[in-house]
Amino acid sequence: MRRLLHRSFRAVSGLQHRLGRRLTPAGQLAGAGLLAALVIGPNTRLTVAYQAATFIGALLLVALAGVLRRPPALVIRRRLPRFATVGEPLSYPVTVLNPGPRPAAGLTVLEDLADPRPSFEAWRTTPAPDEARRNRFDRAVGYPRWAWLLSMSQRATIGEQPLPVLPPGAEVETRLSLLPQRRGRLTLSGTTVARREPLGLMRALRPRPAPATLVILPRRYPLPPLTLPGARRYQHGGVALAQSVGDSEEFVSLRDYRPGDPLKRIHWRSWARSGRPVVREYQDEFFVRHALVLDTFTPAPTAAFEEAVSVAASFACSAGTQESLLDLLFVGPEAFSVTAGRGVGHVEHLLEILAAVQPCRDRPFATLDRLLLERQAALSGAICVLLGWDAPRRALVSRLRGLGIPTLALVVTDPTATPAVGADGEEAGVHRLLVGRVGEGLARLRGDA
């Protein structure tokens, strides 16, 4: 039964997609008008809606005849950048070649996105965020979940781009614009050349495969100039470009050999110059090293989760400019720790990882606890982006503080959720960020952090 439902959803979504590509907005309005007229007009004595129905039907029929001739085959090459960011329109160049013997006019180009329809497994196992509030029928049939999953996997909208007149053999460059809507990997499967038929109700299409991918990075918020907790405490020597990490040993000077020094530290050239054994001396270095902890323990990728990822991305970016190391810690299919800053890793790398973070449904919160405590000795501070303020999360933050690690806790919640933070008085260093007003909440950090 559920497989049948899934199949029918797939079929309906596929039909919707095909109709959306085939029909122009005017054509879609005509189609809706035809349906409405058919509903009103079966009794030809009562109303003349049947006249409207036959006329619209005739219009669509003529339009259908108009799209039998396909538009000419064009060679389209796009130059996609590697990254885009949610909410920021991206415009990229496309070269179009008309190899045919006749000029091509009145054409448009459409991008084909990869099939966004969720698999049966994904549909069966992923609950929608507001599912608990839905009625029994919705939960049983699962269409809202399907629609939500579909919208989640539609990562970008790409409009129809008109092409200039292409003389035979000519190549022109134009730009396509894309509006990223959700983070993750955007897969383009091909391009389609389209032409409106004379009535402007339908498009004649000529698709052509041209696969390409693009990573859409999470939305990022501007952060106020922020003194991260624990910063500057270990800022010895001002070594800004060290290639080593954390408590690594750093070359300091040369000195005479003392018995017991390891042979690998002997500086052979100085020995040759001076005639006595000389060794390289190292000393421990201390860097500012922050943990950016992202809470992924939520059953569904809710809006709050997406905002939490955005907040983490915002911190990842700003930390990259602040001459410190940043460990991104989160639990996905396994526990991850990724380091960036001071030449070790690039912020882009962190963002790319954040673009792909998914909620963790099969592990307990304690996994994150352990991951963090394993690294606590090296940490000078922690920023925790949390999805709630329940007992385990409170315990994590208080344990970190107990270990002497200054911790900034940001709790991202839905405005309708019960205000767990602030209910028992605003704790120092714990801030509530409301979905929809996260930027505002982050800007307010300036005075408090």
């Binding site: 008008g33 003349v48 049947y50 039907g57 038929e197 402007g200």
Partner: protein, 661 residues
């Protein structure tokens, strides 16, 4: 949406639905947006309110239509008024700075969401809605042409780049195809309806079946009939009350049913005015009678006096008449009022056939026995009828209680030979068959007896319980009514009337008055009243809008941005500057204030005190540009010093800068 198209669609809607002034006013209201430069800064909450207003109007209209119409017409009635109901929302969209409406406005569940939802343009859908709503007015001659013109106008603006000729050709082909399609569709429905008509009629009809009526002869129990008023009668010259109004007549008895053999219907064409229907072109009349009757779903059998020749003022679409005199409305309004013209002497239509003198074999024995007892055979028709009247009046009595038939006997035998009691169907059936036995052609007729004068309504009323049956006899070349049921039946039927009768009669009179208003003069009254109702609503909306702040004309597709209030914009130094300008020390455009004050100080006559001005300017600058603002004491000093200076320098002619330099 191209300019004027929406207005044209609204005008078309108004024209088709018969509310042209309303349509034109709405069109004007929407198209005036190109002339009005300012736009309202409407937020989601405002749109929510307007959307709620439309919803309330929709609900009111739904209730009204449900009360006033039956289901199919109620639905089309609601659709017909949708352009008016959604007008506030569309007008708000067009006159708002945003120019679009958020989808969340239409869903209660999304209204609380803080983030902005998708914004949509309602006008294309509204355009389509106007055309659909126009179609429900059923203007069969003009709608299609208007539809093609408006659709062509809209499609011209979205056409592909393939040349005007091809576009014109495609439109012409589509228009022709659509025309052929709708003509074919209407014809197809006509054919199907004709085939299924008798089946359909027997299914939905509450009226007697014109082909067959089943009597209660032989049933057991008490007949119970409703007090509901079904007809209202106003007799004209020549008409007499009490009277019988016939709905159908039958010519073959097959116990317990009377059947109309060869009673097929033929359509009656209306006269030129569309309201006069000639049932028999050659008939002479000398009496008339006006009847008001409800027609459920706009169809039903008309109750008519015997031998009706012509019907006046009957506002229906199609009418059909059977050979046996039944008249059926196939499509009409919910309430019809018609004047029937008829001859007093009886009807000479549809002369008798051999079937009209046939007595069914099962009843032959009893009928022959009674006929012999009365000596009916061979007597002239008038005498036979008189004998029958006397026989039934003297020996029989009326009862609504049904006893059923005895073992081995028919119900009619039981009635004639044993019980001598029954209701009108017994009397009518027995009379018909006895007349036939005496050689007089006779038929069985059903309809209503008119006998009750209503003090509430001041006219004759006919209730459902006045349903009656009688015989028709062919005497001297005409069908005359022979009602042998003892007149006491009327009292019998009336006696159990409830104490609430008067109350329910008043209520029925009120609903009748409403229905008559509703169906009279087509729909103009409704329209006019609804239009008046809209005025206070529109006024309220406009007032609410006016009370809001307005923002300047937004560039198309660009959201209006509120200018942030300028810090220090209320500084009194501006007044000092204006006063100096009035005194003739105009500041050159772009001249810094400090340098200008230097120039003024150098050029001013001693009457103009320039010494305090630099201090004032310093305060003014701090007030305007210092991010920390001005302390309260300094702010006060700026005000008092400036006002003191202004008081010392009243406006008036002074030696101007030009003169001084």
């Amino acid at each position: 949406m191209p300019p004027l198209l929406l207005g044209a669609a609204l005008g078309f809607w108004g024209w088709q639905t018969g509310v042209l002034p309303v349509g034109l006013a709405m069109a004007l209201g929407l198209e005036a947006r190109t002339l009005v430069r300012s736009r309202w800064d409407l937020q989601r909450a405002d749109f929510n309110r307007v959307s709620d207003l439309s919803t309330v109007l929709l609900v009111l209209m739904g209730v009204y239509q449900a009360v006033a119409n039956e289901s199919a017409r109620a639905v089309t009635g609601i659709i017909q008024w949708l352009p008016l109901l959604l007008f506030p929302l569309v007008a708000c969209q067009l006159y708002s700075a945003a120019g679009r409406v958020e989808v969340a406005v239409f869903f209660w569940s999304q209204r609380t969401r803080p983030d902005e939802t998708v914004r949509v343009d309602l006008t294309p859908a509204y355009f389509g809605l106007c055309l659909l709503a126009a179609s429900t007015a059923n203007a069969r001659t003009t709608f299609y042409a208007g539809l093609v013109v408006l659709a062509g106008w809209a499609l011209w603006h979205v056409r592909g780049r393939t040349g005007r000729l091809r576009w014109g050709l495609a439109m012409a082909v589509a228009a022709l195809l659509g025309w052929a399609g709708h003509v074919g569709l209407a014809e197809a429905q006509r054919v199907v309806e004709r085939r299924a008509q008798s089946l359909f009629l027997s299914w939905i009809r509450r009226d007697p079946d014109p082909y067959r009526t089943t009597t209660s002869l032989g049933d057991i129990g008490e007949l119970k009939l409703s007090d509901r008023i079904v007809l209202r009668v106003e007799p004209g010259p020549g008409a007499r009350i009490p009277a019988l109004l016939r709905q159908a007549s039958y010519n073959a008895y097959h116990a317990p049913a009377w059947i109309a053999v060869d009673g097929g219907f033929t359509a009656v064409p209306p006269e030129a005015d569309g309201a006069t229907w000639l049932l028999r072109p050659d008939g002479a009349t000398d009496a008339r009678l006006t009847v008001s009757a409800y027609l459920p779903r706009g169809r039903g059998l008309l109750a008519l006096p015997n031998g009706a020749v012509r019907l006046d003022d009957l506002m229906v679409v199609s009418l059909a008449r059977s050979r046996l005199g039944a008249v059926r409305v196939d499509e009409g309004l919910g309430l019809v009022t018609y004047t029937a013209h008829f001859p007093r002497r009886g009807s000479d239509e549809s002369p008798p056939t051999p079937g009209d003198v046939r007595v069914p074999p099962r009843e032959t024995e009893a009928i022959t026995r009674v006929a012999a007892e009365l000596g009916l055979a061979g007597r002239p028709p008038a005498e036979a009828i008189a004998a029958l009247r006397a026989y039934f009046l003297g020996r029989f009595h009326y009862t609504r209680y049904l006893r059923g038939a005895g073992p081995g006997r028919t119900a009619l035998e039981e009635f004639l030979l044993t019980t001598h009691a029954g209701h009108c169907e017994y009397f009518a059936t027995a009379t018909t068959l006895l007349l036939r036995a005496s050689g007089v052609p006779a038929r069985y007729a059903v309809g209503y007896a008119v006998h009750e004068w209503s003090g509430v309504e001041h006219r004759w009323v006919v209730r459902a319980r006045d349903a009656h049956a009688w015989a028709l006899a062919w005497v001297d070349g005409a069908w005359i009514e022979v009602d042998t049921t003892p007149a006491v039946w009327i009292e019998e039927e009336t006696s159990p009337a409830s104490a609430w009768q008067t109350v329910s009669d008043v209520w029925e009179w009120a609903t009748f008055a409403f229905a008559r208003w509703r169906w009279s003069e087509r729909q103009d009254r409704l329209t006019g009243n609804l239009g008046w109702l809209l005025i206070p609503l529109a006024a309220m909306l406009v007032w609410r809008m006016w009370a809001r702040r307005r923002v300047g004309q937004a560039a198309p597709a660009q959201a209006a941005v509120m200018p942030s209030p300028r810090a220090g914009g209320d500084s009194e130094f501006y007044r000092v500057e204006r006063r100096l300008t009035e005194l003739g020390f105009a500041r050159a455009p772009g001249e810094p204030l400090a340098r200008w004050l230097d120039v003024v100080a150098a050029a001013a006559p001693p009457a103009v005190a320039t010494a305090p001005l630099p201090a004032l300017l310093a305060l003014h600058h701090r007030y305007r540009f210092d991010p920390a603002g001005l302390a309260a004491a300094d702010r006060r000093r700026l005000r008092t010093d400036a006002e003191a200076w202004l008081a010392a320098h009243p406006p008036g002619p002074a030696s101007g800068r030009a003169a001084a330099t």
